[in-house]
């Protein structure tokens, strides 16, 4: 009997009819033919076999946080979100991630949505500025378009989108919809190119996050940063303690909290 000319629906129908009568071998064959038919119709990338493999990750540069994430860092090929209000450490986390990405030979692009990139902080964190690509869009929608082009090219190992402002997204429904559409497009493309995307979201006040945004659903890892105490030396502020909470983690445990010591100005 030849199954090659049957459609997928017909194959499932035959499977349901002959479920009891079929031997394990013929079921396996039928499954193989079905997979071939799906691959033929939708391409080889449409169907995969599950293989037990350690997830590919990008270290955050903070060993305590890497341990808290359970996988050793932020996942490659997926989207991560760093949330924080003002000076809370999310920018430092992103900068450290850039340095780590460059250390393992990745190309990094920095989408500077609000034109507030701190080159000095980048240089101090050990980022090789000469190989860093900075995109300076004119608006948020322009930033999404440029980032989309870069993601589609699959040429970058890490992309930092700095930053989205929750109030801006709430007040500009068009921008929020654009972000929703973009995230839908980017997610499969990131998976194919193994590109790590880190989106920095700045909230108006700590612990608040606007409802109705698509970003929390698409992000595989969401980290919330909150400033705890200032660090002082001889009366001068030299840094702060940031509490980083794992809000969501698709590849490991969530709900973990770590305290990170973040220095300001070297």
């Amino acid at each position: 009997m030849t199954y090659s000319l049957l459609t997928i629906e017909q194959m499932f129908y035959i499977m349901s009819l002959r479920e009891d009568a079929m031997s394990t071998k013929s079921r396996k064959q039928l499954l193989e033919y079905t997979i071939s038919a799906i691959q033929k119709r939708w391409g080889h990338q449409a169907i995969h076999t599950a293989v037990e493999e350690a997830p590919l990750v990008l270290s955050t540069g903070f060993p305590a946080l890497d341990r808290a994430l359970g996988t050793g860092g932020l996942p490659r090929g997926r989207l991560s979100e760093l949330i924080g209000c003002g000076t809370a450490g999310q920018g430092t986390l992103a900068i450290q991630a850039i340095a780590q990405a460059q250390r393992v030979g990745q190309q990094v692009a920095y989408v500077d949505v609000e034109h507030t990139i701190d080159l000095d902080a980048l240089a101090r964190a050990g980022v090789r500025l000469e190989t860093l690509v900075v995109l300076r869009p004119l608006s948020l929608s322009h930033a999404l378009e440029m980032t989309g082009d870069l993601v589609a090219a699959g040429a970058v190992g890490t992309i930092i989108l700095d930053h989205l402002h929750d109030l801006a997204l709430l007040t500009q429904s068009e921008a929020a919809q654009g972000l929703d559409r973009a995230l839908r497009e980017w997610t499969p493309q990131l998976g194919r190119s193994l590109c790590t995307m880190i989106i920095l979201t700045e909230t108006a006040s700590p612990g608040l996050y606007p409802s109705g945004l698509a970003l929390p659903y698409f992000a595989s890892v969401r980290l919330e940063c909150e400033r705890q105490n200032w660090l002082r030396h001889r009366g001068r502020i030299t840094g702060f303690i940031a509490r980083v909470r794992v809000l969501k983690n698709k590849l490991g445990p969530s709900g973990q909290e770590v305290l990170l010591k973040i220095r300001i100005g070297g």
Binding site: M1, T2, Y3, Q29, A37, E53, V133, V134, L135, P137
Partner: protein, 395 residues
């Protein structure tokens, strides 16, 4: 101290049939691929029915009458195989190509580079699957023979591979059929009650020579896990450039400029291919008719200044030899994928090229000012704003 060899074998069973099957309509009949009157390859089921590559088609059809026969395309299979070999070149410094579907790779140090030998195998397998949709089997051992058996006996499940630590212990329980012995030798081994490679390995070498002939001594060594055949890497590529002068040229400056022009164009080609140079050869045809050759060893792809220095040194050695040069030629020899330590650099060069292409497209589509690059102004300046700045990306 010489390190113990580690060799990996990549094996894609029924390569030709697998290449065909990944594109053709699924069919439950066995597949035979022909090349003229003979069989070029067949699928697993055809092989189970006794069809082997090289059989006459009518013989093959007698053994496998229900087979579906298609005409093979050697050029296409060669292209797919080259694609696989190029992929392997990204993961190992030495690749020895066997027939289609079989290759040996240098595995020493790869465990340290990738985390473990298993991770290395997984990376290779994954990349081949992504590039060609073909499922490869991998085995790593201390010799070519053991690694080949490890690859062939490794289960076809995705992500599985065999890593052999002690060759002789791995080979010992396997049947002697794995050894390329003659039919007569196998018959005599059976009569003597020697069924496994381990039993054959335990025989003293002089007994093997006496009983089965000295030709089997080498297979006896393989059985003991002492296959000393080295890996033969791919032949080095050579990139050449030539220039001729209408009038014999004796000025060092002019010769140097001619060499640099040739060198730059050749280097651009090299960088696009992400290849490394090992030696630079200079050939000068003199006005007297004589040809002089000079060469210099190079550790890595040279920059402009290094290239100028090398050419100047080579030209100095030609001085006083002749009244003029009528033709110059340079050769970049030993273009191989960079050695183990340079693998990440090699990958970076490709990534960088792709990134630059993407950025060019971005600059065209949006605006050149939107794609920027940080530059250093005065890193020690007291004012932060004076330390670094952004400039348009140089494309």
């Amino acid at each position: 101290m010489r390190h113990p060899p580690r060799i990996a074998c990549l094996y894609i069973p029924h390569f030709v049939a697998e290449v065909e099957l990944r594109q053709s309509v699924p069919n439950d009949r066995p597949l035979l691929i022909t090349d003229g009157p003979r069989v070029l390859g067949g699928c697993e089921r055809a092989a189970e029915m006794g069809v082997t590559p090289g059989d006459l088609l009518r013989q093959a059809l007698a053994r496998c009458p229900q087979a579906r026969v298609i005409q093979g395309d050697r050029a296409h299979y060669q292209r797919v195989w080259q694609q696989i070999v190029e992929t392997l070149g990204m993961h190992s410094p030495v690749i020895e190509e066997g027939p289609w579907g079989l290759a040996y790779l240098e595995a020493h140090g790869m465990g340290a580079l990738y985390g473990s030998e298993a991770d290395w195998c997984r990376a290779i397998r994954k990349e081949i699957l992504r590039e060609t949709s073909l499922s490869a089997r991998l085995g790593v051992a201390g010799s070519k023979f053991a690694s080949m058996i490890a690859a062939q006996t490794s289960p076809p499940d995705p992500g599985r591979r065999i890593i052999v630590e002690e060759d002789h212990a791995f080979l010992a329980p396997l049947p002697t059929n794995w050894l390329p012995l003659s039919v007569e030798t196998r018959r005599r081994l059976r009569l003597l009650g020697l069924h496994t490679i381990g039993q054959f390995a335990k025989l003293p070498a002089n007994t093997v020579a006496e009983q089965f002939g000295p030709v089997n001594l080498e297979f006896h060594r393989w059985a003991r896990g002492k296959d000393e055949r080295p890996l033969r890497g791919r032949k080095c590529e050579v990139l050449e450039a030539h220039a001729e002068f209408e009038v014999a040229e004796a000025r060092e400056g002019a010769l140097l400029e001619a060499l640099l022009a040739m060198g730059h164009s050749a280097l651009q080609e090299l960088q696009q291919g992400g290849l490394a140079i090992r030696r630079l050869e200079l050939e000068a045809r003199l006005v007297e008719g004589e040809t002089l050759q000079r060469s210099a060893w190079i550790g890595a792809t040279p920059g402009d200044e290094t290239l100028r220095l090398i050419f100047r040194n080579l030209l100095h050695t030609l001085q006083g030899e002749s009244a003029g040069v009528v033709a110059l030629g340079i050769k970049f020899v030993g273009l191989e994928p960079p050695s183990g330590k340079q693998l990440s650099l090699f990958a970076q060069a490709e990534d960088r090229t792709r990134l630059e292409e993407a950025l060019r497209r971005l600059a065209r589509k949006h605006s050149a000012e939107c794609v920027a690059q940080p530059c250093e102004l005065r890193p020690e300046a007291p004012l932060v704003a004076e330390r670094y700045a952004l400039q348009a990306y140089r494309l």
